[in-house]
C-alpha cells in the first residue's frame, strides 16, 4: 500500500517536472517548427507544431547571396577556433605554474587575478575600445580573440584540477632530470583531459554567443560575427518571421548539438567549479 503511494508520487512529480522542462525548451521547439512554415502559418492559433505546408525556402533564402550569412558563419568559426587553441596553451601553462611551482608572491598574485573576476565586463568597454584603437585592432577579429584568451576563470579551474593530481608523479620525473616543461606537457596535460574538455566546451559556447564584443569592436559588415549578424538580419527583414526563425535555428543548432552530446562535461564543470570556490 505504502510503496504504491510512493510510486504514484514519483510518477506524479516526474510528470510535473517533465512538463516544466518542456515549457523551458518550448521556445526552441517553436523556433524549429516556424522555420519550416510559410509566413501565414506562424501565428495561427491554436498553434500547430507540425507545419501544414512543410517548406525549405526559408533556409535556402538565408544562405542566398543577398545576405552575408555564410561569411558570418565562417568568421565566427575561425574566431572560436583561434580562441580555443590559444587559450588552451596560455591557460594551462599559467595554471601549471600556480599549481606546481613555488615562487615569491605566488599566492598574492593569484588572489589579484581572482579578484578581477568581480569586474562586470560591461563596465570596461570604453577603456577597452581606447586601448584596442591604440593597438590598431578595432574592426579586426583580434579585438575579440585577444581579451578572451587571457581568461581568469579557467586559470582558476584548471589549477584546481592540477592540484588534485598526486605530487608523487611529477617528483619522480624531477629526480629523473625531467624539465618542468616536459612534466607539464607529458605528464600533467594528458591527465587533465576532462578539465581541458570542459574549458573547450565553455569557451566554444561563450565565444559563439558573444554579442557585445563584435557589436562594439567590429564595424564592417563583412567582418561581422553571427550574433550581431542575425540581429542586423532581424532588423532588415522585420516582417519575414520564417526567415528570421531559420536564421536563429542555424545559429542555435551547433551549440545545442554540442550541448546534448557533452552535457555531462557542462554540468559537472559548473558543479565542481561552483563548489570549490
Amino acid at each position: 500500500m505504502k510503496t504504491k503511494k510512493k510510486k504514484f508520487g514519483k510518477i506524479f512529480l516526474t510528470a510535473v517536472l517533465f512538463l516544466f522542462g518542456i515549457a523551458c525548451i518550448f521556445p526552441f521547439i517553436f523556433m524549429l517548427s516556424s522555420s519550416f512554415k510559410p509566413l501565414n502559418e506562424i501565428f495561427v492559433y491554436p498553434i500547430k507544431l507540425i507545419p501544414e505546408h512543410f517548406i525549405f525556402t526559408n533556409y535556402t533564402e538565408v544562405f542566398s547571396e543577398k545576405y552575408n550569412f555564410i561569411q558570418w558563419y565562417g568568421n565566427t568559426l575561425v574566431m572560436v577556433f583561434m580562441i580555443i587553441v590559444l587559450k588552451i596553451g596560455i591557460v594551462t601553462l599559467t595554471a601549471y605554474a600556480f599549481a606546481r611551482l613555488r615562487f615569491k608572491g605566488r599566492d598574492v598574485l593569484f588572489l589579484v587575478l581572482l579578484s578581477s573576476m568581480m569586474i562586470p565586463p560591461d563596465a570596461v568597454i570604453v577603456p577597452k575600445y581606447v586601448i584596442f584603437k591604440a593597438f590598431g585592432i578595432v574592426d579586426s577579429m583580434w579585438s575579440i580573440i585577444l581579451p578572451s584568451i587571457f581568461d581568469v576563470f579557467f586559470v582558476f579551474m584548471v589549477r584546481q584540477f592540477f592540484l588534485a593530481i598526486p605530487e608523487t608523479l611529477s617528483e619522480a620525473a624531477i629526480i629523473d632530470g625531467c624539465s618542468h616543461f616536459k612534466i607539464y606537457s607529458r605528464i600533467i596535460l594528458p591527465l587533465a583531459k576532462p578539465a581541458i574538455v570542459t574549458m573547450i566546451l565553455f569557451t566554444f559556447i561563450w565565444a559563439w554567443n558573444d554579442y557585445m564584443g563584435p557589436y562594439i569592436f567590429i564595424t564592417s559588415p563583412e567582418k561581422q560575427m553571427l550574433s550581431v549578424g542575425i540581429k542586423m538580419f532581424q532588423v532588415n527583414n522585420a516582417v519575414d518571421y520564417g526567415l528570421q526563425m531559420a536564421a536563429a535555428t542555424l545559429v542555435l543548432v551547433p551549440i545545442l548539438i554540442v550541448f546534448l552530446f557533452c552535457q555531462k562535461y557542462f554540468i559537472e564543470g559548473i558543479a565542481t567549479s561552483g563548489m570549490k570556490n
Binding site: 492559433y45 591557460v91 601553462l93 613555488r102 586601448i131 526563425m245 536563429a248 542555435l252 552535457q263
Partner: protein
Amino acid sequence: MTSSLRRKEARVAWLFITPYLIGFILFHFLPIFLSIILSLTDMKYISTADQTSFIGLGNYFEMIYDAEFRNAFKNSIIYSVCFVPLVMVVGLLLAVLVNQKIYFRNGIRAMIFMPYVSNMVAIAIVWSLLLDPVDGIINQTLRALGVSNAPMWLMGSKTALITVVMIAVWREVGLQFVTYLAALQDVPKELKEAAQIDGANRFQLFRFVTFPLLKNTTFLLIITSIITSLKNFTIIQVLTEGGPGNATTVLPLKIVDTAFSSARMGYASAQAMVMFVLVMVITAVQWIGKNRSEIY
C-alpha cells in the same frame, strides 16, 4: 644546492606565467586603470583625444543632476533587485524538486539547463515573436482564456523591464539550478536519516539540516548572480534596445550610448566607475554578512 634549485624553479615559473601576465595587464588591468583616469577628463572621442583636459570630479557632479543617468541607475537597481532573488529561489526550488526520487532525472536536468547555453540574439528573436502583444501565442492564449487586457510585455513601458527579467531568469537559472543540485547531492545521507529519526518533518529537515549546509554555495551564487545581473547589455540590447522610451535603459546601455552615440568617453567612464563601486560595495556587504553569520 636546494636554494639554487628553488631559484631555478622560480625562474621557470615566471617564464611560464609571463605571456599570461602581459595579456592580463593589457586586457584586464589596464582597462580599469584607464577607466579611472578617463573618468576625470572631458574626453570626447579618440580622434579628438588631444583636446582632452583634466576636469577633476566634474563628470561625477554632472551625473547627480543627469535625469537620464539617474533613470538608468534606477533601472539597473530594479533589474538586479528582481533578478537576483528570483533566480536564486527558482534555482533552489527546482534543484530540491529534481533531487527527489523521480524518473528521467538527467533528461529533465538537461531541459532546464538548455537555455543557459543558447545564443541570446537568436533567443530574443524567438521571444519577441512569442510575446508579440497582438499575434503572439502567449497573448492569443490569454485572450482565449478570457483575459481582456493582455499585457504588452516587451512593448509596454510599464511591463518591459520585468519581462526582460523573466526572460533572463529563464535563460540563466540553469547555473543556480545545477550548482544547487550538485550541492544537494553532496549532503550526507546519515545526517538526513539522523534528523528523521529525531522526528523532523520534511520542512524542518530542509530548514535546519540541508539549507545550512548549502550556505557556501548560496553565498557564491548570490555574488555570481549579482555580477550577472549587472552584465545585462546583451539581453537588453537585443530584446528592447533600452525602450520603449527609456523604460529598460540600464547602466551598460547608457554607458555605451554616452561613449559612442553622444561621443563623451570621459563621462561614460565616470558612469562605469559607479558600476564598479556598486559591485564592490555589494560584495563587501555580502562578505561581512557571511563572516558574521559564521561566528555562531
